[in-house]
Structures are given as structure tokens and as C-alpha cells.
Symmetry: C2
Subunit: 455 residues, 2 copies
């Protein structure tokens, strides 16, 4: 047995006030009941050293980026090491011919987009936290966003990785070339593995030509049936919208509480639809308006130019501030077959009502990926309106989504919050294989232990 | 120890003439030096029974589709079982709202396309063998084709799988919904695993709206430098062509030997470029023509309508017959950075000349994925022009492609033909993890043993 290598002293942060900010991610109730070691990696060597040390000392390591995660996957573990990768934030290369960018995992999503934009290119994935989340975190959770309905998720835009394994070994996965089928797709295995299989230290991302600024249609619906009809009809259009977002009535009210964004108080839902199709956006929006009307929209607005299009998105941009203002909540991330969308929103309302819980539902309607929020009053000790009631509602809706043929997580990940439903979704045999894979890559269980695969 | 279950007698084929056709795939020199058991699976149960039998008796199993593979990955193993999946060829569902098809692994690629087309949808991946290859084989090799430059490869179009593991256990991977991040991406792990990790018994494929019939530009080049300039310039266009195919001078000659397709004898290369962009194909082709001319094309033809566009593709359609007529060959499938495309074609010519070997090079120029062919005379016992010389040239070009930052296989797979270079590409640490994964899923090494990971 060799001596454990020392942690890189210069990368360790000991200030308790600073450390407090690195103890949790952005999930509800995240907390760390004890001290931990915070290492803010400066380079690949730091990552290798931390993992070798952790391996030798059997210390849990939590890989971490900007702590915008919503599933509890990067919360510190008492006695463990938080290995923060924010510092590895360099975009080292943009190759417009191959259509790739090479960057560190700490690169902010919006910074990668900006670097690509300088060459007329686009890194498509756009989580709501684009301005603050890191590419490494996006890779860890296989993050989604608003663009997915047309452009897909993070996994669709990653060609290769550099990964430090639990052993401290450094491997590269995937490729830089357009195509390549040499060996198993380890890249795809690491994308979405939530820091449980290795620590990503470099990302080769796919870039595509930057689309034109989108135009927008906004439609008001007075029934869930009409809303679902509209989304289904949009899915059947030959030219897929670049955005299909839905806000239910309580969500609209939460946004209207911050200012008048033109959402009528009596409406059931608002649907936002965009086209960014070069040279055809005006024509698409006119077509979508017809489709929305035929599906039963009670009111419609369309934008002829990008400025107006952005104005129609104004209310949607206030979604998170509006919901934040309402207080603490359990936030869902389920994805169901599109035909069940209206049913799911109604189920969220029903479940919330049964527990005396205020519910808002919004999300990526075109994907069937919704984010119901179950609000509670932390002062209420139990019963209707309490935290326990909201948590119960949250759990019931997961079960309902599964029964509809849906998934327990569309884009946030499993982390700790959804781990107890993973087996129900993937089945015992598949979960066993996932645990086997985890064991293969991390036999001493130092990487984000106890998460994802264990409830 | 339980008794080995009997093989499904009614599914076994014993006629030696029929069996001979199932002994090999379409790779050069494929042969099986001994007898094997041929099972043509009729359903999931047959697959489970075969694997349980094989597991209990430690018998090698070669999963197999239409034997169009080019890397030797589905050739029978003496004493083993060929588990042919052609019979599982039902398209059980097309869901236009979710944009998915569910089908058996034996479904012919073109049949899936046809079933999707009935609903205005498209299954994009289009290997050259589309009319005869199976979806299961496409999944096994992560097959590419001509559409990849715009639409990506098979992996980009698979949402989920049903897989029978070596143990006989049946698992489902992935999902039917648009998004989903619950657990590790086992789907991606099985795609491209060449029958070494499990046997795919059902595929959930992604469908997209069917594009319009493409228009075509054909450009003649008198130098590799100009050809490469043209492809690089096309890659930088905001609207990616739906096809960028290249044929070198000896390839043109092989095609012209079958009829006059208008290829000038003195030219260095011909480049075919298409656009299928709805409402913009004419405009795109005019723009591509400018780009091709600016890059130094010595002659140009463009098509104003789909019929004419297809005529310009006439010579390209004769590519395989033209090359087949030239006799036996080692067929490459390397992919290099696009800027090295001309260098690679010249290297192929140089390597061939050094070994006294005729070389043709054609392929998916827009991806940097080329298929040089090294022809030989089986009557020549050794030295220039012999099989050994062609094989040496084949190997040298692989090494050259790797040195250019390329991959040893863009779309055909590793199988047996490329296994000896896998470590050189992915590195020892990554290869070890791949072998570990193989061992995890197939501890007794019954699934396609000795392939991909072992040279």
C-alpha cells in the first residue's frame, strides 16, 4: 500500500463563509450536516491528486460546478471532499470547420455560447440557468432546456470527454471527427452519470450554425384539452418549432404578480411557440397561429420582428422570479407522452388540492417535460400546506407520471431527490446493471456515493 | 447447476446450402472453418432460450442480421451458434406525435423508412445497404450513410432498446418520451457494441419530418487542394448540405467503365452536393455552386428539379457496382479531420502505388469519412498487386489516418478487421475499461467472443 498523496494545499479553501456556499446545490432542503474539505481545482493535476488521495483514504468526493443543480447531486458529504471544477473554465479551441469547441468543465454555458457566436456558431443546449451553470454540470446531468424540442439535449451535442477515473487514471472518450465508431461509446455513458463514474476535466462539444433570431406566437387556452390538441398539432407540423413552452393559470398569476405581462386571469394556460427557421420564421408563425386557432386558442398574438418576439416572451422570462417569490417548493421534472400533457397538469392540480398545496405547472410543453412546483409554508408544522404535504404531493405526481408512460426526470437528474423511484422506472434488472457499472468504474465507492442508484 | 435449456428445434436450420449463406458477412475473406448451429429466431423467447442454452454450455453466440456488415463482426464461429434476427422484422408501432417507431431488429432499414413515410415521417440513417441491411445491424455498428453530414448517425436516432443479456435476462433501456435522464444511458452503450454486450430484440427509433426531395450540384476538381478547399467552405456555410460525397479519379474511371456518367477522364475528383432544405433548395444549390467555383471547381452542373438532381447522382449510384466489377479489395472506413481530406486521398494513392496496388477512394467527404479500396489479384501469390500487398496498404492507411487525428472506423465498426488498431486509437486505459464493460455484461464470454476488443 502506497502513501496517500497529499491534497493540493493551495487549492483548498478553509474560510467557513466561502465554504458554506459550496456545501449545497440549488435543490430544496439541500444541506450538509458536518464539515467537509473544499478543493477548487486549478488544473488536471489537482483533480488527479484529489482522486488519488480520496482513493487511498476512502474519502467521498463530490464533483461540483456552479451548484445550480436541482436534484441534490452535488451537495457536500460530511467528512468528504467537494471537488469544485469552476476554475477549469477555459475555452481552449473553437474549430468552425469540424464544428467543435474544446473547453474546461467549469466553462459557463453562456460563455461557451458567446465564444461560439464569435465565429457564427452555436452551442445549442440552453438550461434556464445558462448564465450561471457550467458545461461540466450540464454534461453530468445531461441537461436540457428550451431548445430541446428542436435541437435535442446535451448528450446530442457532446463528441468527446477527458475524464479522471476514481483510480486517478486519465482517459479520453469519443472523438473530434464528425463520425467514429471505434469501441464502446464511453462518452454517452459518462454524460448524465451525475459525477458517479468519473470527473470530467475537458469537453469536446459540437457546434452548429447559429440560427436566426426567432419569431414568437402566444396563444391563450381556456381548456387543457385544447392546449394538448394544440401541442399535438404542432408536433405534427413538418417544421418543428424551436420552442414550445407552457404556463398554467397559477403560473400566470405568479408572473402577473410581478407586473402586467398581459396574461388574462381567467385563462387555463398560455402557450408560447417560436420559429427560428432561416427565411421562414414569418411564414411558420403565421402557420402556427392557424394551428393554434384550429386547436381552440381563445386569444392569439404573433410577432413580426425579433424585438416584438422577445416582448411576447417577457412574461416567460419572469417565470423563475415569479415562482421564487411564492416561497419554498418541491420542483418536479417529469416528462410524459405528449398526448398526456393536459392530463398531467390536471393531475398536478388535483394532487396539490388533495394536500392543501398550491401548485404551479410550467415547462417544455413540446417535449412533454413539465416542472410542477408544490409550494408550502415552512411555518406549518404538518397537514395541509405543510412541507410534508408538499413532499407527499411531489411523490404522488412522480408515480402518476410513471403510470402515464413517463419518466421521473426529463432533464434535472436523479441525484438524491429522485433516487427512490429509479428502480420503478428502469426495472430491477436494468438498475442492477447500472449499479454494476458504477461498481466497475468506482469499486471503492468514493465518487458521489449514495446517490442516483441508492434510495 | 441447472440443465441447459434445449435450443428451439423449430428455429434451427440444418440445410448446408442455406447455412453457407449465414456463415459470413460481407467483409473481405470472411469464412468459417467449421460447422456451426444456425438458429433463425422467431420471437423474443427464441432469443432468450438460445442465450440460456449458450450460457449453460459456454457456447459462442454470433448475433446476426442481413450479413451486410463490412468488418467481420457477424461471421460464424466454428462450434458456435449463429443467432439470426432477420425474422424479427415487424414495425409494431409508428407514433407520429412522439416521433417514434418501434420495430424488431430484423426490420430492413428501407422498410422502416417506408413505414415512416406513410405518415410523412423519416427514419434518417441511410447506409449504402439500406435496401438490405437491418436496423439491428445498424444499431450494432452505429451505422452511418450519406445523410450523416446533416442528420447524424444511427446513435442520434435511437431512443430505446429491448436487449437480451448474455444471462438470458431481458432489459429495456432508454425511453419513449422526448427527454429522459433517469439513470445511465445504457441505450448509447449498446448502440455500436457490435453484438458483444447483448442481443437487441426491439428498437425504439426516432422519426423526424420527411425532408423534401433534394437538389444537386456536381463539381469537377483538378486538384486535391481545391477539392479540400471546397469541402471546408461548404462546412462553413450557415445551411449544411444534406449530402457531400466525393469520388476520386480512379473511382470515376470504374464508374465510367459501366456507362457514360459524364465524368471527365482527366479530372482529379468529383464532388456531389445536395440541399433538401424546404423552400430553399434552389437558392442553396445556387449558393453552393458559387462556393464550389470560388474554391476552384473546373466544371459545374446544377439541377433545378428533383428529377434532374437524381440524374446528377446517376454515377454515384453506380459506385458499388463499379467497384465490385474491379475484383476483390480491402475496403477502408477511416474518418479524418476535414482539412486533411485531400491529404488522405493522396496518401491512399501513394500507399497503393508503393505496394503495386490499384486504389480508389470515395466516400462521405463532408464528414471526412472515406472508403479507400485496395484492389488485388488473388492469382498473384505475393509481392506487388497481391492480396498481402493490398492488406499491407490497408494497414498503412489506418496508421496514417490515426496520425492525422482520425479514427480507424467512421461507420463500419471494428469487428475482426480493425481490432488490432483499437488500442492505438482509444489508448490502453480506455481499452481496458471497454474490456471490463464487456466482461461485466458477458462474464463467460459467449457473445461474439474474440471480436472488437481483442486483436
Amino acid at each position: 500500500m502506497t502513501m496517500a498523496p497529499e491534497l493540493p494545499t493551495a487549492a483548498i479553501v478553509t474560510d467557513p463563509d466561502i465554504k458554506a456556499g459550496y456545501a449545497v446545490d440549488s435543490s430544496l432542503g439541500a444541506h450538509c450536516d458536518g464539515d467537509f474539505t473544499l478543493v477548487r481545482a486549478r488544473d488536471l493535476d489537482d483533480v488527479v491528486t484529489v482522486l488519488r488521495h480520496a482513493q487511498a483514504t476512502r474519502t467521498p468526493v463530490v464533483p461540483q460546478g456552479a451548484r445550480t443543480g436541482l436534484a441534490g447531486g452535488s451537495v457536500a458529504i460530511p467528512g468528504g471532499i467537494v471537488l469544485n471544477l469552476e476554475g477549469l473554465d477555459t475555452v481552449t479551441e473553437i474549430d468552425p470547420i469540424e464544428g467543435i469547441a474544446v473547453c474546461g468543465p467549469g466553462t459557463i454555458n453562456a460563455d461557451l455560447k458567446a465564444a461560439a457566436a464569435q465565429q457564427g456558431l452555436w452551442y445549442a443546449p440552453d438550461p434556464a440557468s445558462s448564465g450561471s451553470c457550467t458545461i461540466g454540470g450540464n454534461v453530468a446531468t445531461n441537461a436540457g432546456g428550451l431548445c430541446c424540442v428542436k435541437y435535442g439535449v446535451t448528450a446530442d451535442h457532446i463528441r468527446g470527454l477527458q475524464v479522471v477515473l476514481a483510480s486517478g487514471e486519465v482517459i479520453t472518450t469519443g472523438r473530434r471527427t464528425s463520425k467514429g465508431v471505434a469501441g464502446l461509446d464511453l462518452t454517452g455513458l459518462f454524460v448524465g452519470s451525475e459525477g458517479t463514474l468519473g470527473v470530467v476535466t475537458e469537453v469536446v462539444a459540437r457546434l452548429i450554425p447559429r440560427p436566426e433570431p426567432p419569431l414568437t406566437a402566444l396563444a391563450i387556452f381556456d381548456s387543457m384539452a385544447a392546449l394538448t390538441r394544440a401541442i399535438v398539432a404542432l408536433r405534427l407540423e413538418p417544421h418543428r418549432p424551436s420552442l414550445i413552452e407552457v404556463l398554467d393559470s397559477p403560473t400566470m398569476a405568479a408572473i402577473q404578480a410581478l407586473g402586467d405581462y398581459g396574461y388574462p386571469a381567467e385563462a387555463t394556460a398560455v402557450l408560447l411557440v417560436q420559429s427560428d427557421r432561416a427565411g421562414h420564421a414569418t411564414e411558420d408563425i403565421a402557420r402556427y397561429a392557424q394551428v393554434l386557432e384550429a386547436a381552440g386558442a381563445s386569444d392569439l398574438a404573433t410577432a413580426d420582428d425579433p424585438q416584438e418576439a422577445e416582448l411576447l416572451m417577457g412574461g416567460r422570462r419572469m417565470l423563475n422570479p415569479g415562482l421564487e417569490a411564492k416561497g419554498p417548493r418541491f420542483l418536479e421534472d417529469i416528462c410524459v407522452p405528449i398526448v398526456r400533457l393536459g392530463d398531467l397538469i390536471e393531475a398536478a392540480h388535483r394532487v396539490g388540492a388533495a394536500h392543501g398545496i398550491e401548485v404551479t405547472t410550467s415547462g417544455h410543453g413540446g417535449d412533454g417535460n413539465l416542472h410542477p412546483s408544490f409550494f408550502f409554508d415552512p411555518e406549518v408544522p404538518g397537514g395541509p400546506g405543510s412541507r410534508a404535504a408538499a413532499e407527499a404531493a411531489f411523490g404522488e405526481l412522480v408515480t402518476i407520471a410513471l403510470a402515464m408512460g413517463g419518466t421521473i426526470s426529463g432533464e434535472h437528474g436523479i441525484g438524491t431527490l429522485k433516487a427512490r423511484w429509479l428502480e420503478q422506472e428502469v426495472g430491477a434488472a436494468s438498475l442492477q446493471r447500472q449499479r454494476d457499472l458504477k461498481h466497475l468504474f468506482d469499486p471503492t465507492e468514493i465518487l458521489n456515493p449514495g446517490r442516483v442508484y441508492w434510495s
